[in-house]
Symmetry: C2
Subunit: 340 residues, 2 copies
C-alpha cells in the first residue's frame, strides 16, 4: 500500500479505483455509492416524500491549514454544503465529494479528512453518494481541496428568501460570532496569540428544523460564512429593500474573540463563521423562535441583535455601545484568505 498520493491515484486506472474503494466507498458506505456507476440514482418518489421542491447547492473548500481546533477541511466540506441547503428550509439528503489532491499528500491525512466527512454526514443525516478524485503534480495545488454539492428537499409551504425581510421583523443570530475565523487565524500561527479557540464548524439543519417548527414563516435565513454577519445583513437589506439596525451591545461574542479582535483591529461582524446563521423573523414570533433555538445545542447562545426598519433601502446601521451610529458595509477587500 502506498503511504503517499501519487499521480497514478488520479489516472482513472487501477490505482485510482483501489484508492476509491478503500478510502471513499469503505468509509461513506452506502449502496448508491458502492455501485460505482458514473452517477447516483434516487427515486423521485423518495424525494417527494420530504416536500415539493429540490434544493441544489455547491461549495469548494480550500482552507489552510487542513486541520484546526474544532474540525478540519472534511468537517467543513460537509457542514458547509448542508448549511446552504438547510437555510432554504430544505431537508439535506445527498452530497457529492470532488477531491483534488497534490501529489505527495500522505494517505493518512486523506483518511482523517474522509473520516471527518463521514462523521459530519452522519450527524447531519446525509449520504455522500457520488464523487470524483483528481491528483495534480507537486506544486500545482496546496495539499487538498474538496468540493461538495448537495441536494435536499424543501417542505411544502416553506418560503425563505433574502427578499422577505419586512419593517418590524426581528434579527436573530444563532450564537457567538467569529469563532471559525479566529480559530483559523490562531491555527495559522500568524499572530502571537495564546488563545485556544475552536471553530464553530457544524451542520445547522437540526437547528433550522427546530426554528421552522416554532415559526414556519421564517422570512430570511443565511449561514454567515466568508464576509461574516455584516455581509449577510447587507444581502438581506439589499435584496429586501430595507434598513437593518443592529445593537452592538447585543452581539454574542466570546471573550477570546473580542480580545483577538481588539489586538488585531478586526471587526467581529466580518469574521467568518461555519456554524452560525442569521435569521429575520416576524416580530410576534421572535421570542418563540429564540426560545426554540436556545433549547437546541447549535443555538444555545442565540440572541436577538436588531430589527428591520423601512427607513432606507439596502442599509445596515450599527448602534454602538457608546450610543453612536455607524453604517456597516459589505466586506471590502480581503480579510483573511482560505478561511473555508
Amino acid at each position: 500500500r502506498d503511504s503517499h498520493i501519487t499521480l497514478a491515484h488520479g489516472s482513472g486506472g487501477k490505482a485510482m479505483r483501489d484508492l476509491i474503494e478503500d478510502v471513499f466507498v469503505g468509509s461513506f458506505d452506502n449502496p448508491a455509492l458502492a455501485a460505482l456507476e458514473d452517477q447516483a440514482v434516487v427515486a423521485l418518489s423518495e424525494l417527494a416524500s420530504h416536500g415539493d421542491r429540490l434544493a441544489f447547492t455547491t461549495d469548494t473548500f480550500v482552507v489552510n491549514p487542513l486541520f484546526f481546533p474544532g474540525g478540519d477541511i472534511g468537517t467543513l466540506a460537509v457542514a458547509g454544503t448542508v448549511n446552504d441547503l438547510a437555510v432554504s428550509g430544505a431537508k439535506p439528503l445527498f452530497l457529492s465529494c470532488g477531491i483534488v489532491m497534490e501529489e505527495g499528500l500522505p494517505v493518512e491525512a486523506l483518511r482523517r479528512v474522509v473520516a471527518s466527512m463521514k462523521r459530519t454526514a452522519e450527524q447531519a443525516g446525509v449520504y455522500i453518494v457520488t464523487g470524483d478524485t483528481k491528483v495534480v503534480e507537486r506544486g500545482a495545488a496546496d495539499k487538498l481541496f474538496i468540493n461538495t454539492a448537495g441536494i435536499g428537499v424543501v417542505p411544502e409551504g416553506i418560503s425563505i428568501s433574502a427578499r422577505n425581510a419586512r419593517p418590524g421583523d426581528a434579527v436573530i443570530v444563532s450564537g457567538y460570532l467569529g469563532d471559525h475565523g479566529t480559530a483559523i487565524l490562531v491555527a495559522r500561527n500568524e499572530l502571537a496569540l495564546e488563545t485556544q479557540i475552536a471553530s464553530d464548524c457544524q451542520p445547522l439543519n437540526g437547528l433550522v428544523e427546530t426554528m421552522l417548527r416554532a415559526c414556519p414563516d421564517l422570512h430570511c435565513l443565511r449561514d454567515a460564512t466568508r464576509g461574516g454577519v455584516a455581509t449577510v445583513l447587507n444581502e438581506f437589506a439589499q435584496s429586501s429593500g430595507v434598513t437593518i439596525r443592529v445593537r452592538e451591545a447585543a452581539l454574542p461574542l466570546r471573550q477570546e474573540v473580542k480580545g483577538a479582535c481588539e489586538i488585531l483591529g478586526l471587526d467581529p461582524l466580518y469574521l467568518a463563521n461555519e456554524g452560525k446563521l442569521v435569521a429575520v423573523v416576524p416580530a410576534e414570533a421572535a421570542q418563540r423562535v429564540l426560545a426554540a433555538m436556545r433549547a437546541h445545542p447549535a443555538g444555545e447562545h442565540a440572541a436577538v441583535i436588531g430589527e428591520v426598519t423601512g427607513e432606507q433601502a439596502g442599509v445596515v446601521v450599527l448602534q454602538t455601545v457608546f450610543g453612536g451610529e455607524r453604517i456597516i458595509d459589505m466586506l471590502v477587500g480581503e480579510q483573511l484568505p482560505r478561511i473555508c
Copy 2:
C-alpha cells in the same frame, strides 16, 4: 475594473459579489441563479415530468493547459458532467459551478472559460443554477480548477448499468478513440509532433437520446474518459462477470492518433476521450443502434468493436490485427496526468 484576480475576489465581500454578478450571473443568465440565494430551488413536479429517478454526479477539472484545440476547461467541465448524467439515460437538467482560482489569473481568461461553459450548457440544454468562487494565493493552485455537479432525470423504464452485459451482446464505441488525450499531449508541447488534432470534447446527451429511441434496452453505457476505452471495458467485464472480446482491426482511429501512438509507444485503448462512449447492447439491436448513432453528429464514426462472451468473469481480450490475442487490463500507473 480589475484585470487580474485578487484574493479579494474570494473574500465573500463586495469584490466577490461584483465578480459573480458580472462574470457568472451575466453569462449563465437564468432566474434560479440570478436570485443569488445560497441554493437553487426547482419544483419536483418539473423534474417528474421527465421521468421517475433523479441522477446526481460530479467531476472536477484540472486540465493543463486551460485552452487547447477543440475546447478548454470550461467546455470540458460542462460536457464531462453532462456525459456522466447522460450515460444513465438521464436527461441532464441543472449544473453547479465551483471555481478555484489562483491569485493573478487574468480576468479575461476566466471570461473565456465562462463563455465556453455557457455555450456548452446551451448545446446540452442544461442551466448552471448555483456556484461558488474561491481564490487561493499565488502558487497554491495552478491557474484555475472547476468542479461541476449535475442533476438530471432518468425516464421510466430505462435501466442502464455496468452490471447488465450479457454473453452475446455487441460492444459499440461512438467514434474515433484518443482524440482528447492526443490533443492535450500535443498542446503541452511535450512531444515533437507537428500533428494538428482537436479534442473530441462534447456533450453526448443528444446521442444517447437517439440510441435509446433505437433501443430502450441498452445494457451498459459509459463515457470513456481517463483510463480510456480499456478501462471502461474492464469495468463492464468485472461488474457483469463476463469476458469482452475486442477486435483491434475494428477500432476507429484517426491516422494522426495512430501515428502519435506509434511514435510514443502509447496504446490508443488507454487514451482519454471527452466525447466518446462505449455501449453494450443486445445483439439483435446492434445494427439498429449503430445506424441511429451514425445519423447523429456525435456518432458519425461509431463502430461495433467486439462482443460479450461467457468464457470467464472480468476479462477483456484483444484480438490483434495479426491474429493473436492479448489481455487488456485496466490502466496501471499514470498515463498522462491532468488530462481533464
